[in-house]
Symmetry: C2
């Protein structure tokens, strides 16, 4: 168990290192007015803290730097919520109050604001469409052989695919197909759509419509959706400002990671909802060893969610980011749920 004085010292080390990016020495700590002991005493305490694994040296005679364990302890025990400045609050309100029409735009703006305020990189995961429910099917023929199939969901999301029509398919066949699909599948969630099609709808189609297997295959494709929401980035190049990223290889690795959708998505995986902080190697990804990720999820209406992530150096201003992400999550939830209730 850490003594009070050790807690104080650990806190100063983390806080100072977060702002300066320089190893923190005993003299520097002793300068804080609320620290009354001499540098020598602090050095003894630091030796203990190091032995316990909370801080480490960059070389034999350097100041101390928080270890991952140190950050973890700081995040778990020393973090205190801070309040936001008027300017920040204003910025948030500008996105949410401003009657913005499209959900997509709200999310996009949010990502930018968050990255501006933190000067870290922000990733927003849009809501997963798989819980939307079908509102309407439509098939619009383009030519003898092709048509566009459209699904409108209860949230106003529109999915569309180009499909191939069977030989000899006539307009009345299209009408019939549309009717069958709408009769049977309106209200079904996109997640269930595939299985519902297989289990019943295809059979009905085969009975009533001059159809072909290739057409059914096309419809199968229509019902296949991306499993995850769309990804929005804010401040992709912000990491260039961080001194720990003055190394080209690191920047490069990070940039490459962000180009790969699956790797980005994996940053968001969590057992439960709430605000999560993953520090350095806790991300289980070599590229992320020097980075921390703070994630939270926001909700839209009753059962849909999206996620927010802020990626910064391990030496991240956790207090601030946690506060900001919390405000953003509730702001987004509020703004977007309203839209849903309005039927949008």
């Amino acid at each position: 168990m850490l003594t009070n004085r050790q807690l104080q010292i650990l806190q100063v080390i983390v806080d100072d290192f977060v702002t300066s990016a320089q190893p923190v020495g005993s003299r520097q700590i002793s300068k804080k007015e609320w620290i009354t002991t001499s540098p020598a005493t602090i050095r003894n305490e630091m030796a203990d803290l190091e032995e316990l694994g909370f801080i480490e040296k960059t070389h034999t005679s350097s100041g101390r730097v928080p270890s991952e364990k140190g950050y973890r302890f700081y995040v778990d025990h020393l973090l205190q919520p801070i309040s936001m400045s008027a300017r920040e609050i204003g910025l948030f309100q500008s996105v949410f109050k401003n009657q913005i029409v499209e959900m997509e735009q709200v999310i996009r703006e949010s990502a930018n604001i968050l990255s501006d305020l933190t000067s870290y990189t922000t990733i927003l995961l849009g809501p997963n469409v798989s819980k939307h429910r079908v509102k309407r099917f439509q098939i619009v023929p383009l030519s003898e052989q092709t048509a566009v199939a459209i699904i409108v969901t209860d949230n106003g999301h529109v999915e569309n695919r180009t499909i191939t029509l069977p030989q000899g398919f006539v307009p009345s066949d299209i009408e019939k197909t549309i009717n069958i699909l709408n009769e049977r599948l309106v209200g079904v969630s996109l997640l269930e759509l595939q299985s519902r099609l297989e289990l019943e709808t295809f059979n009905v189609l085969r009975q009533h419509v001059n159809t072909a297997d290739s057409f059914i295959q096309s419809l199968r494709n229509v019902a296949t959706f991306q499993n995850e929401g769309k990804i929005y980035f804010g401040g992709k190049t912000n990491m260039f400002n961080q001194p720990e990223f003055h190394d080209l290889n690191k920047v490069r690795a990070l940039m490459e990671m962000m180009e790969k959708e699956s790797q980005v998505i994996s940053l968001f995986q969590h057992e439960d909802a709430g605000i999560h902080i993953r520090i350095g190697s806790e991300n289980n990804h070599l590229v992320m060893d020097d980075l921390s990720v703070i994630t939270a999820s926001y909700s839209i209406g009753n059962d849909q969610e999206g996620s927010i992530a802020i990626i910064g150096p391990k030496r991240m201003d956790y207090q601030r980011v946690v506060s900001l992400i919390d405000v953003m999550r509730s702001g987004l939830s509020g703004a977007l749920s309203n839209k849903v209730n309005d039927g949008l």
Copy 2:
């Protein structure tokens, strides 16, 4: 006018510098088997070439490097088409032959292949939708107040917007609106759509439908499209491999540029069609001073086009890239025009 020997020497300097990224010295040039003169003579010629502005030194006693004027001359007069390897041809065919369904996917893959083959960054501009023609309007109500308006174009492209319905708008009003829109606007290009709405359709609507000005405003929004095609990137991080980009600030500036849509679009602006090469400062953009951009356009069907750009260091393998981009342009044009003819 340059002598034959000067042409030869300039060519060697450009070719060698392109592959090695190192200033080229007289001795190195004299080693080429088809160069028969001694280093001393070559030095004299180089002094002349330098005076004429085609090459320059990085410092007093360094080898020579092509100047922008030198590259320009090389590109205009010394470039010879090269043939592609079997492997490369195979790669291209895999995108175009493979019966890929969605146009978007073909474009995306093309960007990746091109960046893989060149190890530069590729940008593809999707076709501009403004020349598509309306195939069908659809309005799907979501709630009392909101609905989704959908436009399907003759190419199978789907545009959609959420709109607000006027108070007291009933289903039959929606039916009427859909009919009016489809009667009057099918076949109109998206470019003209706005003006056609204003000139006639809105008046008809006002006569037949219990409508409101807010509704008309919504429809106006529906007819507003992005002016340019979608942007696809390939090999965004390839520039990290180029030795001239071992400077963090340059990489950063480039990355930031690529995040800004308008700046990316401006790379494509050209008076006429065909393959264009812009070298360094010819791009009129500070960030691009060390970069060259080769652009070409591809066509889809009769009157739509998209563009291809390859961004590399000024020290770019112009011959190869020009060949590749030319193959890609005709391949893309062929593949996508077929799709259009199939009605897709």
